[in-house]
Every structure is written in C-alpha cells, then in structure tokens.
Chain length 279, copies 2
C-alpha cells in the first residue's frame, strides 16, 4: 500500500519509519510545506519521495494527516473533496472541531478520526524515531461514521504500529485529553516560566535542579506550533480543567499558609492514589 504522510514532524516521521520498516507501506510519499522538514525527511530516508498536497493525495492509498490541529482543520475538507475511495485519517490531539467540520462531507465515510497517544517533547523530522508508538494506545473516534473499509485499513495501520486500539466519541476524547494531556502541558509551561523569571536575577538557581524538576518541567520543551492550536481547539474543556486545577492550587496554598498540616497530609495521601493507576 502506498501511504501519503502530510506533516513530517515527530508523529508523521515516526509512523512513516515504522510503517515502511514493517512492510505495511510499500512506499511513503511525504508532504510538508516546511522545506527544511521535507528535505530532512527525504535525506533521512523517512519518505521515499516528496509531493505537493494535491499530488500526495492523488498518489496515496492511505492519506495520513499528521500536521498541527489548525493546519489539519484547514486542509482536511480539501483532502476529502479529492480522495475518492482512498482512506483518510488524522493524528490530531483534538477531535471535536474536526468532527464538526467534516460531519456533512459526502466522503465522510472515507475518513477515520483517530489519535495515537504517543509523543515526546521534541518536534520535527529529526525527532522522529522507530518504536514511538509501540505498546501505546490509539483512539478511534466516532467509529460509526466511518466506512468498514476505512476502519479496516486504519486498524491494520495501528496494529502495524503495535498499538492497542480503543473507541470513543470525539467529544469524550476531548474531555479526557484535556485532563490527562493538555493540562499537564500547561502546568509544565507555567512551571518553566515561573522558574525562568526567577533565574533572571539568580543565575545559580539551576545548580539545585534535580530529577524531580526535570520530570515535571519536561513538557515545557514542547512546540508552540503544536500546542497553541490544541489549546484553541479544545478551549472549552481546557477552561474547565484549568479552573479546577487553579482552585486546588489555591486550596493547597491556603493549607500551607495556615499551617493546617492534618488537612495537608490528607490531601497528599489523596494525591498519592495516582500510584494505583500509574504503578
């Protein structure tokens, strides 16, 4: 099968590598409007050839949109316009707006809304690597709106990537993603900003940075190109989570300030229950 990957960053690049390696794809056509990224992907052998968006859609059997969410919204209708009986999927971290956008399209059945839950804080084709998706979870959203062939092809693709597949309505996906992914990124970005601001005056501050800080602030390296569109596409859900998060921070602050140690103990013991989920 010839696959066309649109957006040759961490996600698009990593899946191109493994879909080719594992013989799911006989050929990988790459599309990227960033010339540097396109050139790097070709040079690294991540893609077999480069094409324009239109040529890429015409030449591929499976079209995979792996751009940031705003670009995906911009190009998906046009891809569906010309996809015929090819299969189209996307990798975006937000699903609600895209679902609305394509809901009335005559080729809706050719499209599978999906989201592989994998990534790192790095971006671009240089960050792409084999194995990124292994043993992670992929979500297929609004399964009933896709045709049987499209579901079959996308399922085979995720199996080739060694992913576990779960199904979920797009709106539910977005709520969950706000809780277990989007808020984590905001808390990291803000932690980084808080500490960097202090560093302006006290250069030695990072001499004390240990593994704990590094782990908590890791996601603050993530790219604005990817995250600003996610924050906008999933704004309503993120507002709810962010409010809950800030409320709890204020509670925590109050307990420390007023020396309410017993309540602080209880709260931390409650937070410790995350162990049961993350081992």
């Amino acid at each position: 099968m010839v696959i066309t990957v649109i957006g040759l960053g961490l996600i698009g690049g990593s899946l191109a590598i493994d879909l080719k390696n594992r013989d799911f794809a006989s050929k990988v056509i790459g599309v990227d409007n960033n010339r540097n990224h396109a050139g790097t992907a070709l040079k690294r052998g991540i893609v077999d050839e480069l094409a324009s968006l239109e040529d890429g859609v015409d030449k591929g059997d499976l079209i995979i949109v792996a751009t940031p969410a705003d670009a995906a919204l911009g190009i998906l209708p046009g891809i569906l316009d010309r996809c015929g009986n090819k299969v189209v999927t996307d990798m975006c971290s937000t699903k609600g707006n895209i679902a609305t956008l394509v809901s009335g399209h005559s080729n809706r059945k050719q499209y599978v809304a999906s989201h592989p839950m994998a990534g790192t804080e790095y971006s671009g084709p240089k960050a792409a690597f084999s194995g990124l998706f292994d043993n992670k979870t992929a979500i297929i959203c609004d399964r009933g709106l896709s045709g049987a062939k499209a579901i079959k092809v996308v399922t085979q693709m995720y199996k080739a990537l060694n992913m576990k597949i779960i199904n979920m309505p797009g709106t539910e996906h977005d709520v969950h993603a706000a809780y277990v992914s989007h808020i984590s990124h905001i808390s990291s970005f803000v932690l980084s900003l808080t500490v960097l601001e202090k560093e302006k005056n006290e250069k030695k501050i990072f001499e004390l940075a240990g593994g704990g800080f590094e782990s908590t602030v890791r996601l603050a390296k993530s790219s604005a190109d990817m995250w600003v569109p996610i924050f906008q596409q999933n704004r309503d859900n993120i507002m709810v989570v962010l409010k809950a998060y800030i409320d709890k921070l204020n509670d925590f602050e109050h307990l420390i300030a007023s020396g309410k140690n017993d309540e602080l103990y209880m709260l931390i013991n409650e937070a410790n229950k995350i162990k049961k989920i993350l081992k």
Copy 2:
C-alpha cells in the same frame, strides 16, 4: 569509620548502602523509630546493627540525620548535646530553620548543614538503592560555621557518593529549593488531585494517559511524611513561588480564553527556553 544513619528511608538507606560498599564506612549503625523500616533495613543488610538514638550517637564517628525535616528539628539539638568531637550532618531539603535552631549551640562546629539533591518519588528502606547519588549535586550550607574536621569528613562522604559539592548560604538554599523542587511537587500533587476527582465520574479517563501525564504527575507519589514538614519549614519561600505560579496560570488561562494566540505563542516560546538548561 563507623557511621550512624538516623532515618532508614530512601535517602538514609541508599547512602548507607554506598558508603559501606565503597569502604567509606567500616560499619553502619541504623536508627529508626519505625520498627518495620528498621527491621527491613537490617534484613536487607543496609545496616549492620540497630540502635536507639542515644546509643547510635555514642557509637558512631559520623552521625547522619536522614529523617523528615520535622523529626530532624526535634532530634538535632539532643544529638549535638552528646556528640562530643564526632561529626554530625543532615540531609534535609530545608536548611533555614535548622540553621536558626542550632546557631547558638556550643557544638555547632561539629555540625555540617547539607543537602544531597537526589531522590525518587518512592520512600522507605525498600526504595533504597545503590547509585542514587552518583553524579548529582550536594549542597553544603553555611560552611563557615562548621569546623575544618567536620567539613573534611562530610566532603569525603559526598565524594564517596560520587557527588559534586557546591556551597551556599542556608537561606539562599531554601529560596532555590522552593523554585526548583518544592513547587514541582505541589504542581504534581495538584495535577493528581484534579485528574483523580474527574475520574470518580469517568472511569475511562486513564485510558488516555500517556507518557506526558506520567512524567508530570510522577512526583505526586511522594510521601506526605516527607513533604508536609518541608512545606511548613519553607513556607515563606513557597508562598512567594506559589503566588508567582498561580499568577502565571491565570495569565495563561486568560490568553487561551480570549484567543490571544500571538501572545500564547510568545509565552510558550519563552517557556521553551528551559531547553537551554535541561538539554
């Protein structure tokens, strides 16, 4: 040299293992008022024998206090009362209050205030392991208040643990620790609480939890026994950092809510600068 380790948790246990392995300690005497912890440490061979606090102080050449910060405050004056010309050090994550507490003690010169910047989210002697401290940084505080022999012994100890030593006033240490360690723990505890609360109603939420969430929430597994005393001992500094963190979260929320994407881009690009420090 005979060393006495008071508090046989992750820190005390791990340093006992390596100080013995690496021939810095000829014998390790363990003190812990938690019988389970004491028994585990003896059984695992982390300590050679157990003793009461008083006997432990009397039998050791170097007394290492590796208890939570509140317990350290409680026992340190008594240890200094009977330490004679032995050397005493502590491993606490807060230094200001301890410095004040022992400042007038006649044996102050026998004591070295220090803090090895190492740890994991696990606690207790079962969590102890060889290599925890390798290539990390240890801080010695208020060096001028310790005697030459005491500084020499503690320096040799940290060298045996393969640590880089830096010097810093205790008050400065506490400010820096609030920024690069204590706030990270609060942000993780609160992230855990926010997501766990949502989970009460939506059991499937963790199906979407990927590596990003796991990394950001990791510290929420840390023990209340260790962290409540730290939050209390370093309250004033933590209040300042927490206020800055909440202010920036509110800014971030405002930019998302009002769709100010250009400013959001700038803020994330600013947060990305953490790369220059953490590679």
